[in-house]
């Protein structure tokens, strides 16, 4: 006999609204002419995100283990992470709406007559918006999923649209398509690892729920548990681009259209860390002797590798990719801390890092020459004299990534490292501070290039952004600056929301 599942719709509403927006977007693609589509799609995206945000606000004090038959857990931390993703997506969608960065017709072969006529007719690939919304919904689900099957489905729901979006750049299309291929093959490879690990966790505990796995600690076959933890971790560490599973990151960040890179860098990190925190804090907390040493080592390698290799980069998008790898290492310290402070610090760090990243990639879209974006750092020399304001904003973001005091990055790093220190992980703190110092070196090198080197005679210029991009970049900048000057508001909120229901 089949029993109809009982769903608490009010608690699931944020995700359902975003999914509904995506589905309406698909219908719009099918039935409306191309002149109206961009405006309508943008309205639907922004509208559904705002509605989702409002719903999240309404359920901010709720907690429930049975909102969808034990498949998702609604709790404080989950709501904070979801709200972070929605806010970041709101800023990202405005960048994405600038169609200048996207291909006119993805199916046209690069350099063909078809492509030229698509460009002349000013075609736009507005499917970007529904894909974007599907990705957002998947990310939101990923942070609150509390059994293995929901985790796997959510992982794929947010990854598959991102693979496609990575291949839709207007310029340098071969590069973009290559990025999509690499992202797809490696992403699918890592989800297979995740799934295989899930099978062994199921074999170990006889249940697919995280709380069940936690309850089974000590009662099952430890080999199964170990295999399960390792393989599931591989899948998750790939998504956050921890070393040695990082090799896709620089290529995909460089090849993907810059607004998508920004969205991916900010939101994927929030979603994946949300899931990692939940899995390790709820599911694996009882078996910490099995995984804490491994994750500690990975965190150390990731911090050092990301910071060191970033020094050698000549391309600004690749440099930010390595910087994102280093930040994954810092965030892993919060996971290893395995205490309430670690969770609160991670929540704050993700929030601050997300907005800084989005603003940084937003600024990169503005720096162009006649052929498109200029990402070669050597050509950014002397940009500070041409447009002081944009350069100053970028420099501020770099200082924030470096963790200089009075920026959000400093507050985040301080919170994470003090949580790691409290949990007795001195080695992590030492390496973390060391890696921060190395990282500061190359960020400051870029700032010197921009401001204190004589400009070479080149055609690089900062374009006047469209209203949408301007709103997005300015809003992200204001949040980044505010988080540095007055972090206490978000910091208190994060520690109030740092609670997983088990």
């Amino acid at each position: 006999m089949l029993i109809a599942p009982s769903l608490t719709y009010s608690l699931l509403a944020p995700i359902l609204i975003v999914l509904a927006g995506a589905l309406i977007g698909v219908l719009v693609e099918a039935f409306l002419g191309k002149t109206h589509r961009p405006a309508i799609q943008l309205t639907i995206s922004i509208g559904s995100l705002l509605l989702a945000l409002q719903q999240l606000w309404q359920i901010r004090d709720s907690s429930s283990l049975t909102a969808a038959v034990n498949s998702v857990t609604i709790d404080k931390a989950g709501i904070f992470l979801q709200a972070t993703i929605v806010l970041l997506s709101l800023a990202a969608v405005l960048l994405i709406a600038d169609q200048e960065n996207f291909v006119a017709q993805a199916s046209a072969i690069p350099g063909s007559i078809e492509e030229r006529s698509a460009l002349e007719q000013k075609n736009q690939q507005t499917e970007i918006f529904p894909l974007f919304l599907f990705a957002v919904a998947g990310m939101m689900l990923f942070t609150i999923a509390s059994d293995l099957i929901t985790l796997f489905v959510a992982l794929e729901v947010f990854s598959l649209p991102l693979y496609l979006l990575a291949g839709l750049s207007r310029r340098r299309r071969l590069l973009s398509q290559e990025a999509a291929l690499k992202y797809f093959l490696l992403g699918a490879y890592s989800s297979a690892f995740f799934l295989f690990g899930s099978a062994f966790l199921y074999g170990y505990s006889g249940t697919i729920s995280l709380s069940g796995i936690s309850a089974a600690a000590g009662n099952g076959n430890d080999i199964f548990l170990l295999i399960g933890i390792i393989f599931v971790s591989v899948g998750l560490l790939f998504k956050i681009s921890a070393v040695p599973f990082h090799s896709w990151t620089p290529d995909v960040y460089q090849g993907a259209p810059t607004p998508i890179t920004g969205f991916m860098a900010a939101c994927t990190k929030v979603a994946a860390f949300g899931a990692i925190l939940r899995i390790f804090y709820v599911g694996f907390a009882q078996s910490q002797t099995q995984w804490r040493p491994i994750i500690t080592v990975i965190a150390i390698i990731t911090m050092l590798f990301g910071s060191l290799v970033a020094i050698a980069q000549r391309d600004v998008k690749r440099m930010l990719a390595y910087s994102s790898i280093a930040h994954a290492g810092f965030l892993l310290s919060g996971v290893v801390a395995l205490n309430k402070d670690g969770l609160a610090a991670s929540l704050f760090y993700l929030f601050a890092y997300g907005f800084a990243t989005l603003a940084a990639f937003g600024i990169i879209t503005l720096i162009r020459d006649s052929t498109g974006e200029v990402t070669d750092l050597n050509r950014w020399v002397g940009l500070g004299r041409k447009s002081p304001l944009v350069s100053a904003a970028f420099a501020f973001l770099l200082l924030s990534f470096a963790g200089i005091p009075l920026t959000a990055g400093f507050v985040g790093k301080f919170a994470i490292f003090s949580a790691a220190y409290k949990s007795g992980n001195i080695s992590l703190v030492v390496v973390g501070v060391l890696a921060s110092a190395i990282a500061a070196f190359f960020y400051i090198r870029v700032i010197i290039m921009i401001f204190f080197t004589d400009p070479v005679n080149n055609s690089v210029s900062v374009i006047i952004p469209s209203i949408k991009s301007k709103v997005s970049i300015v809003a992200s900048m204001i949040i980044s600056i505010a988080l540095g000057i007055a972090p206490s508001l978000v910091l208190t909120t994060a520690s109030n929301f740092a609670n997983f229901v088990k």
Binding site: L181, L185, A199
Partner: protein, 99 residues
Amino acid sequence: MAIANYLYLSAILFTIGAVGVVVRRNAIVVFMCIELMLNAANLAFVTFARVNSNLDGQVVAFFTMVVAACEVVVGLAIIVTIYRSRRSVSVDDASLLKQ
């Protein structure tokens, strides 16, 4: 037949897939190896469902099939686009991003 044998088979299939992804050069074959890995995981799930005598594992297997089908749609779309612009699906040829 002992139930452990199914797990060995699953592990062997998974390893063949994982090694295949690393050594093969044709994007389609790489993709097929990934599908093999997913199916190995499915076999493990179904075996464990039998061991644990509950149905969760079998349900997961169904979901995995659906997800794998979606992955095929997206994956083939990307591979076909690459083929149309380069006339090759070798993952070695796709190396513009290596600097």
